[in-house]
Symmetry: C2
Subunit: 209 residues, 2 copies
């Protein structure tokens, strides 16, 4: 019996590997590993291989940095989409969130993070050069910033705005305002203030225009 009370070194290794994942503690890791241990050998192998295969075979889209099974991702290679309209996002999770709205007809650019001096992330750590090339080559008419509405997101927006404004490209940002279901008395004053300054014609909010 080793120090942590694991009856088996193999079990301990597997638990240790799971406990390295974010938000998974040792107890949860043990629960997950024991669950896997109860499954048949084939499905456990499938689990393990799905991760190994993902890491080995996944590609990054050479246009937008989205992850992809191919050289160019499904969105960039879709000729029904407007590739002069580029939405700048932090990560592929944001692409999935925006895609699920079915409201965006353009393509994306994944920065792979946002400028965050506290975490030691500067502009050079992000995929900005490739976006700048796309703009410089006159392939882009409008870019939309869709970053988090945090200090870091705003900093990144401002940095990109200053860097790209010389190209004369149209730069917009997703609307900020009260969310569906928000009660006004609990909405913070900055959001509420913005929502008044950036008010929109009422007709625009109707489902059928």
């Amino acid at each position: 019996m080793n120090i942590d009370g694991f009856p088996s070194r193999l079990l301990e290794n597997a638990v240790y590997e799971f406990a390295r994942l974010p938000g998974i503690g040792k107890k949860t890791a043990l629960r997950l590993v024991l669950y896997l241990l109860k499954q048949n050998a084939e499905s456990v192998e499938q689990f393990g291989n799905s991760v190994i295969k993902l890491k080995k075979e996944i590609k990054v889209c050479s246009i937008c940095n989205n992850i992809s099974d191919n050289e160019i991702c499904n969105i960039c290679s879709d000729n029904k989409r407007d590739n002069a309209l580029v939405c700048v996002v932090e990560s592929i999770k944001d692409i999935m969130a925006i895609e699920s709205t079915r409201q965006f007809p353009g393509i994306y650019h994944v920065l792979g993070g946002i400028i965050s001096p506290m975490d030691g992330i500067g502009p050079n750590d992000l995929n900005i050069d490739r976006l700048e090339n796309r703009i410089a080559e006159n392939k882009v008419k409008e870019i939309i910033f869709a970053l988090s509405t945090t200090m870091e997101g705003d900093t990144t927006n401002f940095y990109l705005f200053r860097r790209f404004s010389k190209y004369g490209v149209k730069i917009s940002t997703i609307a900020r305002g009260v969310s569906i279901g928000d009660e006004l008395e609990y909405t913070d004053e900055i959001t509420l203030g913005n929502s008044i300054l950036n008010r929109v014609p009422y007709e625009n909010t109707l489902p059928v225009k």
Copy 2:
């Protein structure tokens, strides 16, 4: 882009595999997979292989059903332990919990579950025969029930008690009473009643006797 908005089939497969684990939803699964994707290839391979290897190479102790790297587990093969004193538990997690107390000098028997008619688990689904053999062969002096204090645990205790009593083996159960830190006014009446019926000499509770 497929229905769920995954930019890659490989990513979707890996997320699907994680989302099959208990307590892991699709969003968490995606977060975990994207985390793994950021790690280097070697550590991802290590993760996947730890699970596959575990399932392939793990053994079940031929004495107590504990999982083990060897034919007989570390506890059963430890000759410093009293193998006439057998603690009956539901799963290996319980062994780990009891081992962490460092209070138990005997060995274990893992049932692999408890009798639960609601879940369709009867005595024949548990590892009871092997325990009965150990008792019938006169290898056991005392068995201690350490199952959950639930209806199912109590049912299992009673079933085992009736089945084993003919062997004249001493049968005990772990003490039930108020936990450390419990406030009496919030303790349920059954627990509190038991703790009065089964009161212990005060000297026994002192750290040094």
